[in-house]
């Protein structure tokens, strides 16, 4: 039952040392994501409450948001999730090289997403004159998407750290659970973005 195994003989879905068979780190990550769910839920609720009760003189959101750019960045983030899933799959099969490439593309896409966000923020501030302090729409929008962006940034740093670690020789198939937990986090950040995209950008269309 000891986990000395050649590639492929580890059961990545069952950990015999735990009562339920689910690895501790996975349960931890799921519980943490439940908490983060409530966290984003409250932020999104704040934004929606103010969107649906705008004070007089508020910029109409349609004039500010660019659905095209945001659709593009959403697509990029979705693709990064695909890459992340591939990375997890690779390490579970012991394929370190494939995992590294997948991680790299995940990071790359994540950075494109962040770049789009930065571009969008600058555009809103300088061209559309929507800042974090000059209106409620600005405050709630930038706080919400900024917090999400921070989550993406933390993810990118974590991914980069994992990528670097993979070159030390200490990241093997046995440590796949670490990559899998990271993947769960990354997918969560992606799903939250889908919700934000819908609730913020597409609100008037639904």
């Amino acid at each position: 039952m000891s986990s000395d195994a050649a590639a492929g003989t580890i059961d990545h879905h069952f950990d015999p040392t735990t009562t339920t068979g689910i690895p501790n780190k996975k349960v931890l990550m799921w519980a943490f994501l439940a908490s983060d769910c409530m966290f984003f839920g409250c932020l999104i609720s704040t934004h929606l409450i103010y969107r649906l009760h705008p004070p007089p003189g508020t910029l109409p959101a349609k004039e500010v948001f660019s659905i095209e750019l945001t659709s593009f960045s959403t697509f990029i983030l979705l693709m990064s999730s695909l890459m992340m899933a591939l990375a997890v799959n690779a390490i579970q099969k012991g394929n370190l090289k494939s995992m590294r490439w997948s991680l790299l593309t995940t990071i790359f896409f994540g950075c494109i997403f962040l770049g789009c966000q930065v571009y969008e923020f600058r555009n809103f501030v300088y061209e559309k004159h929507l800042t974090i302090t000059n209106s409620i729409l600005g405050s709630t929008f930038f706080t919400l998407t900024g917090t999400h962006g921070l989550h993406v940034l933390v993810g990118v740093i974590w991914l980069s750290g994992m990528l670097a670690y993979s070159f030390t020789g200490r990241l093997t198939e046995k440590q796949a659970i670490d990559v899998e937990s990271m993947g769960l986090y990354w997918h969560f950040v992606d799903i939250v973005w889908i919700v934000i995209f819908t609730a913020v950008y597409l609100l008037e269309y639904i």
């Binding site: 689910i22 501790n24 932020l43 103010y50």
Partner: protein
Amino acid sequence: MEAIAKTDFLAKGAQPAKPFVLWRPTAKTGLVSWLTTVDHKRIGFLYGISGIFFLVVGGIEALLIRVQLAVPNNSFITSAQYSEMFTMHGTTMIFLVVMPIGAAFFNFVMPLQIGARDVAFPRLNAFSYWTFLVGAIIVNLGWFMKDGAPDAGWFGYAPLTTRNFAPTHAIDMWVMGLQLLGVASIAAALNFIVTIINLRAPGMTMMRLPVFTWMTLFTSFLIILSFPAITIALIELMMDRLFGTNFFEVSSGGLPILWQHLFWIFGHPEVYILILPAMGIISEILPTFSRKPLFGYPIVVFSGASIGLLGFGVWSHHMFTSGLGTVATAAFSLMTMAIAVPTGVKIFNWIGTLWGGHLSMRTPMMFALGFLWMFMLGGLSGIMHAAAPADTQQHGSYFVVAHFHYVLIGGSLFALLAGIHYWFPLMFGRKVSEFWGKLSFWLVFIGFNTTFFPMHFLGLEGMPRRTYTYDGNMGWNLGNMISTVGAFILAIGIGIYLGTMVYTYYKGERTVKDPWDGRTLEWSLPNPPPEYNYRVIPTIHARDGWWYEKRHKDEIAKEEAEHAKVEDAHGGIHMPFQSIYPFLAGVGILIGSIGTAVIDPASHAQYPGFWGPKIAVTMAGGAIMIVSVFLWALEGSDGYHIHLNDDGSVKGEEAHGGYASKH
């Protein structure tokens, strides 16, 4: 603690070669051993003494309030000081007393009750404690500063807490401190959830869990799901204060009612976070001292779950006077009444436990019975609040103060005091004197009722809360005087209680193992338990596992012998290495919080551009925290193995890498 001190065996040389920053601390005694501990029992102890220290602090704040209110138009303290007192009294008692003492029990007792050797993530556990301590420091820093302590009430309603009306750093410290306390609570709760789900001994099915462990689980779920609401509220307030955003800025269309909603979406589950552990403790003590199992175990567990779940649906009963509208008011009114049902069910089951038992009236039982009576009263005044139209006369008055002190002191605190008495022999191997214990009980009981029962009447006679003075022609004089006298009786009672505990810790009579003829697993251990908890992980055959073991000694002995052999063959008992990084991360957080909350933003004249002392200190703290977390990740979840002799003493040791081991 002596057994822990004796396992002083690990040599540094036993660790595999690695860079200096990744060396694992090995001290088992002294300051370093406490700063680097990952042992759930030590961490529980740290939470416990912190909670007790703040009990004294919060109690002094309360006494100052009561002296000021003893007579009308008193000038004992000023209005500004009074505002600090009631704010800090509330914040301290909730976040720095009841929650940490609860956490002390979760940490110490729960892993023992499920047959585990520690929690799932020992370093995260230590991090929770250090972050808690940093939060406690930040929230109390104002006492030592010109800006003063936070003074806008423990629920800090906007816009009173915006820069407009609270221009000093007092509220910044409140916000930052509370934020950190939330982080600490969430981290701890995540740990407990994984532990209870995944680290149970073989045979310990969920429906065999001790009720205290169930309540730990529910409380932890409540924490991770409710704290995000206050996290967001605090972030929004902080951003308004630091960056000039408009979340609660009235002139830009901000809605203060949003603060209320977010706060109470957290705030109501918070009070269940405060009471569920207490209910768990009572559910252990009553069966033990009645010598009968808990009556209706499944329904008590289910009630706990219902209370937790329904607790998310009643938050606006704190806002009945905010103009919610008829439909919302009706909905929350009915939900609040509904939540009385599972609460009542528990009381019925506790009484059912007593019925037909052999009741042993020792001190823990006295506190537990006191809990039953007082919590009943508090619950009934809660039902009175649930009727929203009647509540509009009670809200914001001393009636509410009476209600929540009945459930918080009569409920939570009584149960925690009971628990300390109850588990003291297990934790420290000494028995608390019955005389002094009972004396403290009676003084606390009488003092508590004398203080808070009159407040029901004061409230119904129109005395609002959070008022630093009142006129003498309102009919409130006698009630306030009685209340103040009661407060001093209560203080003496608590003082005797704490004094007794301290005395017993150093000089108390030693006790045998399992002095109360307990029912749950923790009593099967020596007192105090050794660092590794169980020689052999027990196999559970029934609810009240230890009660079963005592009555099936031969079967258990055989099982144990077999399992001991199996465990030894697998390499022995796995113990986690200690680590300095949770503590260092806490230090980074402390520095960063001081930067955020305490330091003034740079004036542009002195520091043109982005950089200034505030940014520098905040980033320095943040950097220390990030580096600590990074090294924490790098050092890995390594541990070492120990093998035991027949008498429980440790044979030898060998270090190994964490990932390869099974245990």
